[in-house]
């Protein structure tokens, strides 16, 4: 019972805070401290959102496609590299520091280069998503492999298991929760990365649309796009959570017993 009321509380509190912020925003734009064309009221944004909905959806579809491609490719690459680094310690020692350094390069600085190299199609967008998605997943997996219980590894060894069998039966399952934590972070950045690279050139996508409405000083439409990016990103994260729950069913029971013991 207590857990339940706590989880309601955990949802109610941010919802309340959110409403308060929207109200405040509404108030500011209603009083006219900031001119209406610069800060449209929430109602204006909603109107723009609904009015522009079909248009927004066409562009969103493009950005989401780029984000998904990037996430899938990033995951595959991260998986391959993490496995290789776990297998060959030399590789980890050589590559991991470089990876960490690359994380200090701001995405927005690479984006124009990618456009110059790859043109205005989907490729530079997908590449940017891959670059941002790759790191959290690779690092998560690597931590997960390392976090595998050494006693479980010893158990498998005592059964005469090969290195591959140990990897499959112990290390990969141990890494899955970490993998999903990494994937959730990557998913939350994916759409934003796609949009950023669309700013720099292209024919379709939320970023392209954003630059267009910006040139028209259509602030309400710009806010509508931002709203949509937030919604889509949250949806993506939600999907990752669902995937996690479906592919790691045993975690559910672990939490159940953990709750019981309290």
């Amino acid at each position: 019972m207590k857990r339940r009321s706590e989880s309601i509380r955990a949802k109610l509190l941010p919802a309340g805070a959110f409403c308060l912020i929207v109200l405040l925003w509404w108030g500011i734009s209603a009083i006219g401290i900031v001119p209406g064309y610069m800060l449209p009221s929430p109602a204006d944004v909603m109107t723009a959102f609904i009015h522009d909905f079909p248009n927004l959806m066409t562009h969103a579809l493009v950005s989401v496609t780029e984000a998904l491609y990037g996430l899938v490719i990033g995951t595959v690459l991260a998986f391959a590299l993490a496995c290789a680094m776990d297998r060959f310690l030399v590789l980890e020692e050589a590559v991991l520091p470089i990876l960490v350094v690359t994380q200090t390069i701001p995405t927005i600085a690479i984006a124009p280069l990618l456009v110059l190299w790859m043109g205005f199609g989907m490729e530079p967008k997908i590449t940017l998503v891959v670059i941002t998605a790759f790191f959290p997943i690779a690092v998560g997996l690597l931590d997960g492999f390392k976090g595998a219980d050494p006693d479980a590894v010893a158990l498998l060894r005592s059964m005469g298991a090969t290195r591959r069998q140990i990897f499959y039966h112990v290390k990969i399952p141990a890494a899955m929760p970490y993998f999903f934590s990494g994937l959730r972070i990557s998913a939350s950045y994916a759409v934003v990365s796609a949009v950023i690279s669309e700013w720099l050139g292209g024919f379709e996508g939320l970023g392209v649309y954003m630059t267009r409405v910006r040139k028209a000083y259509a602030f309400d439409k710009m806010f509508a796009v931002i709203l949509l990016i937030v919604i889509v990103s949250l949806l993506l994260m939600k999907i990752v959570n669902l995937l996690r729950a479906v592919s790691l069913p045993w975690l559910k029971f672990r939490h159940e017993t953990a709750g019981k013991r309290q």
Partner: protein, 249 residues
Amino acid sequence: MELLRTDRISKSYESRLIIRDISIHLDEGELVSLLGVSGSGKTTLLNVLSGLTVPDSGSVFLCGKEITGQPGQVSYMLQKDLLLEHKRVIDNVALPLVIRGMKKKEARAEAERYFGQFDLAGTQMLYPSQMSGGMRQRAALLRTYLGSRKLILLDEPFSALDMITREQLHSWYLNIMGKIGFSTILITHDVDEAIMLSDRIYVLTGKPGEIHHELRIDIPRGERQDFNLQPEFAAFKRQIRDILQQPGI
């Protein structure tokens, strides 16, 4: 017939000798305990017997064949039950069969046959975290048994359980060992447990750990109901306590 023999096994870690010149043997169908206080090197010895650790000197023979440093020859239940949380009970139990190359479906079917005997009926599709300590231990014991139906090595398998569950598992274990017919080397620091279960007890003492005494419990395993309440039991217990309390050990 002799199943396992070790010949003067010694092992050190970081130039500190942990066990010295351990020579033990085990006959088919026997349950032999290694009794020793915490830190006397019991787990180290079992790691050597299982092939996980290579000894500095000495050898291990299984049915006359040398198996020193070769894992996968005998089945080993480590100090924790180590059920893998992400696998259902049936797949945990069938794991040694899968490791040896059996198809998952066949391995499940083979494991399934023993669930009744191991008091695990109905738990096949549960996850380990849904089971009680006693059930987990029986599942781990079944997995260990399926790993090698001849000889299993147990590292304090009952020590994490409450007294009542432990005593229940003791009589259950004696019973199932007689019924299925396999041999066991059991590690324990619990004198009562050693006397209750063993045909023979090796007492491991000192630093480095050495076998200081060998003791035969000559009560047939089938006749050990309430053995721990009888005067013979107390006599054995006194004898072991005297060994453990000898000065200089």
